[in-house]
Symmetry: C2
Subunit: 429 residues, 2 copies
Amino acid sequence: MSHSLPHVVIIGGGFGGLYAARELRRAPVRVTVIDHHNHHLFQPLLYEVATAALSPGEIAEPIRHILRRQRNTCVRLAEVIGIDVTARQVKLSNHEEVPYDYLIVATGVTHSYFGHNEWAEVAPGLKTLEDAIEIRRRFLLAFEKAEWEPDPKRRRALLTFVIIGGGPTGVELAGTMSEVARRMLVKDFKHIDAGSIRVILLEGLPRVLPAYPENLSESAKKQLEKLGVEVRVNTRVTGIEPGAVLIGQERIETENIFWAAGVAASPLGATLGVPLDRNGRVEVKVDLSIENHPEVFVIGDLAAVTDAEGKKVPGVAPAAIQMGCHAAKNIQADLKGLPRKPFIYKDKGKLATIGRAAAVADLGRFQFSGLFAWLAWLIVHIYFLIGFDNRLLVLFQWAWAYLGLNRSTRLITYYETQYEPSPKPQKII
Amino acid sequence: MSHSLPHVVIIGGGFGGLYAARELRRAPVRVTVIDHHNHHLFQPLLYEVATAALSPGEIAEPIRHILRRQRNTCVRLAEVIGIDVTARQVKLSNHEEVPYDYLIVATGVTHSYFGHNEWAEVAPGLKTLEDAIEIRRRFLLAFEKAEWEPDPKRRRALLTFVIIGGGPTGVELAGTMSEVARRMLVKDFKHIDAGSIRVILLEGLPRVLPAYPENLSESAKKQLEKLGVEVRVNTRVTGIEPGAVLIGQERIETENIFWAAGVAASPLGATLGVPLDRNGRVEVKVDLSIENHPEVFVIGDLAAVTDAEGKKVPGVAPAAIQMGCHAAKNIQADLKGLPRKPFIYKDKGKLATIGRAAAVADLGRFQFSGLFAWLAWLIVHIYFLIGFDNRLLVLFQWAWAYLGLNRSTRLITYYETQYEPSPKPQKII
């Protein structure tokens, strides 16, 4: 790998960053992927870790292992704290600076508590592996505590699980939590019966999965209710405090509150010095680069993109993958002296899972739900796991979990009990 | 489960406590197993987690799940802070008191730094799942840091791994660490070559595995050296500080120090008010109960036992299992008005693994080493995993890891980077 080749720095090892790196594997460039985690996370299955159905290791893979055979690529575990587009340098938290010729920023989104950051401690969200482990810890500890709780009021609060936000994450979490709690956990807890468990899903808009067609929202609601979830729409949360969710005058007593209501762009976007949209996402041009800096691309959930056909690009994994490949292709076009191409998003449809054997699918012309949608969801996700060494293993584990045999994921480890909620560590290395 | 039945409280869900509970499954008693972890840990494979070959979930199983079908038994996640043998009560950290008719104490051992508790932070030991995760974190982070370290001196220190203590744990850890680092990790790190990795095993006595026959110690040493471990015997560590191990005037620069040199009894033994041996273990009578309190049994590594045949009982899993069953049988004898039986330890031999396909076996008359010993070790451990729901899964994972396919265990999660070394959390619930 010659040091005279152009240096492409990719920040973020999620779907966008990883596919951008792969697309550059034979290009005459040096690639450095920087992430503050050592692993790529298969986010679509994160709710399975949060509900103790899969182990953290089953949906994550070290980034450097995924890219180990790519000769022109290095991986660096480090935290990026800023970008100097004038000097063309990325600033690391250890005060080092990494120069680049091309930069691809793919740091995604984090939770947004709509100005109520104090809610974060009481109501964790689900974006990272650590979030999932924390939700799992709270979910399992609630049962451990309820098992021996003599006060009936507190016992009820311990067995009440409130999920705020009826988008795909909230729906997945509520459906699976209800299913795992009622079908599996109760068998291990001798003083808890399934009837005393409440799982409540709160959505501010008039229906769950608001981005889906109305009939699918209706179907999702019915499937959730079949799994024992109380679905409440048109319900705006006005307050969250330890032990309760407030909805105007109403008060739901609960020891378990999970947040799936909103996301905000990664703060790194703001250091680029270009316009951001209302959610803090970076507005990019149709070639995915930013204004005045054709060498800087922003992709994935962090980018606010209207594609060449005028479509708003949604914040989903397939869009991030397409953008990653596209940005990498435009870099290669530059190097060959060819013109860049505008980005066109290919919408393959939407799938949301609800529980084991329950889902909704919106493939544009075709819309369906139930077992068939769930099988479609399963096939798509197995397909996307391609590139993961352990996809066979995950499949095996999944089948195992589905048969109700895998309980080893229900660990409460001491690190987790020592957890002090701070949204992000300041320094990793 | 009638409340008029005698209440047997078992503290500790390790091998001893778990087998005691199982032995009581049909006895006319109520059983409560109390542990401050929610999981039973299959300790013989702990080094596999520390070296990123197995996931934490693969060697641990929720105690309440293992005992879920045992109708007379409840499981409680709680920390015991003391025992009042006069009032026949166990004191929990939440100020509750749990009364008992019979008590079985099986809380095992923890690390001993021979009076140098300040070494604990620099040189973690390997007893719990959290210990293993912490060692794995340090092991993997050392490679991440070395990959990008420009200073050759610091780079050398980052790639030097020192294991202190040449007993079974130290031998396992050193052998596997060397093997995983040289055969697997180096493939993922492009700036690190196998030749720059040093794994050093330090033992104060004249040979490794001092509890084994001399020829097996010699064989273990040779097998370790074949795996690239530098074995140094007659080497007493005089100091440990961040970045270095001191041996008299000699100084080994290393960023990675692991402790496998000594254990001390769980402090709970001291609250029983009976004589302890030099290592803090509780001296028990030949029926495994303590002096003046026939209703209190101490078993497993916490007990200092000379059996009815005058044999000192070693601190190994088979001994803990035998003691657990024996204490439970003596309780049943009491209830039937029959005399108690003295404990006789059945020594089935010793096995220590060194790496993949390397081990030593001492079955008394038969002693062997190498692949054959390793296969014996494998068979014995699969046998012991019986009772674990996931033993097939572990076998599968193990095969997977053995074929070099499983890297998903190499996770560095953020909880772990936030780790603040304190030997034990004060309160779990």
